[in-house]
């Protein structure tokens, strides 16, 4: 069965603001204002889900399964959230998110011109991210 097609990637800073959004094949690209709203919505829902936990020690939503897509989320220790919208039943998304986190630390955080919590405008990050995503695609889908 063909695996993992990612539809989009979002990166949210620790206050809930969107700092990166990339679309890889949704039916319709979400416009900027909407993407900002969705990111803040997700940030708040992630926080609320921690409050509703019946067991202490909850760190928020890791996976959301819907009828048409799945959403995997990874939260770093500093509160930055990375989430991908992908096909239902996609495998290895957690590994992909960790790889993206590494790219983030290498090309964004170590970039001396990057201001913390601001939207990401780092060419190297974009380039490497595109490589990782397409490499995954080629390897898995044979295209």
């Amino acid at each position: 069965m063909a695996l993992a097609a990612i539809y989009s990637l979002f990166i949210i800073n620790k206050s809930g603001g969107l700092i990166y959004y990339k679309d890889y094949g949704s039916a319709r690209r979400i416009d900027t204002n909407d993407s900002l709203r969705l990111a803040s919505l997700w940030h708040s829902m992630h926080a609320i889900s921690q409050q509703l936990s019946p067991i202490p020690g909850c760190t928020g939503i890791d996976l959301l399964q819907a009828h048409n897509f799945d959403l995997h989320c990874f939260q770093s220790l500093t509160g930055t959230k990375f989430f991908v919208v992908c096909e239902t039943g996609a495998q290895n998304m957690e590994t992909l998110l960790k790889v993206i986190y590494e790219l983030y630390t290498d090309f964004v955080l170590k970039n001396p011109f990057y201001e913390m919590e601001m939207p990401i405008r780092c060419e190297l990050f974009d380039l490497n991210l595109a490589q990782v995503i397409h490499k995954d695609r080629v390897a898995l889908l044979g295209r």
Binding site: A27, L41, I48, S53, P54, I55, D62, L64
Partner: protein, 162 residues
Amino acid sequence: MQFFGGGSLTSVAPEVTPSPAAPPGTGTGANAQVLYVFNRNGVCLLYREWHRPLHTLDPTQDHKLMFGLLFSLRSFTSKIDPTTAEKGNLGVPLLPGQGCSFYSFKTNTYKLNFMESPSGIKLILITHPRTGDQRDSLKHIYNLYVEYVVKNPLYAPGTPIK
């Protein structure tokens, strides 16, 4: 004994509440931790807990928060849905069938399974994170609701189930 007892008061302590006959494939039903049933307007019709070590908020606030979370999550999923081309609107309340809806989400400590019926009755089951797909169990619970609650002539819709 059923929880949705027709007219009789099921005032059983939470640890002793028996579950209805388990649907095939879920074993003893020992996994369930908390169950909520809401109607369209946010009234909590039923709340049962079997295993809840942590109570963060008092019950009414907890119900409101849960309902609010689900309402926003549905709005979110229908907007972020990558497979439809139509532009949904974020603030608009959605009808029960409208837009893509989620059926479960998982955190490191719990898994929340959700089902919404066409009449707007929302069933939420909180279980252990490694539980499998609970959509069938939720359907089963919904059928019980229909059988014993809706068909009960003494039950007034919109009021908590007793």
